[in-house]
């Protein structure tokens, strides 16, 4: 069988082909890795103007309590994530993650309070497992529905002006606000969020209208289609975790430096402390710290240091201390950037460690994250 024939297609697949995208298999989908402009230009265009990304492969899930009450849905979801969902105001979004019984991360997700229910966006590669996880654990209290909708991200400093031409109210939204809107009579759900470190929006669109919305945005001279290649370098410069690379079931949220996503209500003396899988380990690490931490890594030379490169304490490669989880070239940084895990003893900014690249041990300094200053409109 032809491998590409087995791949799923997003509602924007034909549009990608018409734009001259180079397609690659990603999480079971045939996705654009880059367009003719190339990863470098696409990345820089997103940071200076606006980039349009097809993220329709991600899972969009509705969690609605059978009782119809938001509180019941929120409390049910809180049994699976160390995040304050009950305190999430209507029209607000929050980052979170499903944890497992050992305190590892099953997936990371965006959680939104929409009307009387929760709207959850999960990673493409995890969506079937996430659905099963939700169904098995809170399916008795909630209806879990995987939506068949497209998801379009518009990211970059010009995103707000561009989208405001279709829907003026977008300008009043703050970072992590979510609103129902009509873009030229197309009913959409818009959030002011994204995964590039830039101000921007994610737009959930009915499948049959996805190309229409994407085309209207692409008609704007400031907007270019951006592929997975630049999406990856943008999120790496922004210091954001990629599930499966930087976080997985072997990494705890505290090791991953995701404490900021775990609100007080769910911590030690909080109103609803614990009650999520792996809470024993995670609450203990919140209190006492983890033994290793995710850090930014800035190679001193010009050679990119990629994921899975081993990290050493010494230039001779005698004492292995960790591993790079994501790494590459940062077009905005104009040099190599990486992230990885090191023991707490080596996690202070400025600490010099060594990464093994093709048998050489290259000096890499522990750096603050993100590598670029985010432009979120808080």
């Amino acid at each position: 069988m032809d491998d590409t024939a087995a791949l799923k297609k997003t509602p924007l697949h034909a549009l990608h082909l018409s734009l001259g995208a180079r397609m690659v298999p990603f999480a079971g989908y045939d996705m654009p890795v880059q367009y003719p402009a190339g990863v470098m230009k696409e990345h820089l265009h997103t940071r200076s103007e606006a980039g349009l990304f097809d993220v329709s492969h991600m899972g969009q899930i509705i969690v609605k309590a059978k009782s119809g009450s938001y509180e019941d849905a929120a409390l049910a979801l809180e049994s699976l994530v160390p995040v304050d969902i009950l305190g999430l105001a209507e029209g607000r979004q929050r980052y979170g993650f499903f944890t497992d019984d050992t305190g590892g991360i099953l997936d990371d997700l965006m959680i939104t309070h929409v009307d009387d229910h929760l709207f959850v966006v999960v990673n493409a590669a995890c969506k079937e497992a996430d659905l099963a996880h939700l169904q098995a654990n809170i399916g008795d209290q909630c209806d879990i529905t995987l939506l068949n909708r497209a998801l379009i991200a518009l990211q970059g400093p010009r995103a707000v002006e561009v989208l405001a031409e279709l829907w003026a109210d977008v300008a009043a939204m703050k970072f992590m606000d979510v609103r129902h809107c009509r873009l030229h009579d197309i009913s959409c759900l818009v959030s002011r969020s994204g995964y590039s470190g830039e101000d921007g929006f994610e737009i959930s669109v009915p499948v049959d209208k996805a190309e229409d919305v994407a085309m209207r945005l692409l008609e704007h001279p400031d907007v270019q289609a951006i592929g997975l290649g630049a999406r990856d370098s943008l999120r790496l410069e922004a210091g954001l975790c990629l599930y499966g690379n930087d976080i997985d079931t072997t990494t705890s949220p505290v090791e991953a430096v995701l404490e900021w996503a775990m609100q007080k209500a769910r911590r030690g003396n909080g109103a609803r402390a614990g009650g999520f899988p792996g809470s024993g380990r995670i609450l203990s690490e919140l209190e006492n710290g983890a033994s290793r931490r995710r850090v930014g890594l800035k190679p001193e030379g010009k050679a990119p240091v990629r994921g899975h490169a081993k990290l050493y304490a010494d230039a001779e490669g005698k004492v292995e201390i960790g591993e790079v989880t994501s790494g590459g070239f940062g077009p905005s940084v104009e040099g190599p950037v990486a992230m990885g895990y090191v023991p707490v003893s080596h996690s202070a900014v400025g600490t010099l460690v060594y990464a093994e690249v093709r048998g050489k041990f290259l000096p890499v300094s522990v750096s603050t994250l993100p590598f670029v200053t985010p432009t979120y409109k808080r």
Partner: protein, 120 residues
Amino acid sequence: MLKFTAEHEWLELDGDVATVGITTYAVEQLGDLVFVELPEVGKSFAKNDDAATVESVKAASEVYCPLDGEITEVNEAIVADPSLVNSDPQGAGWFFKLKLKNLSDADALLDEAAYKELIA
């Protein structure tokens, strides 16, 4: 005389010294190059040894030595500015000069017509 390998290197022969680079097709496949590592002058390689490394934004790739020989010169300009390989792969973006051990080995390489057929 211009010769090609199935691994997408090109060679321009001048006596028994070949100027070696990667083809326009290879560069299109790699995308924007951000890092180039070249061999040391004076070092000898056998055919298909890793002689150089190129890295795009996304990934690293090896450049193979197309024939047995010794490096006589490298193009430092592409180390300083890897985008030269993208903008002029079969000109200013050359990688190294190789003194061939056996000039006749070059006969077995592809000519331009055969290479074009390979990538078609």
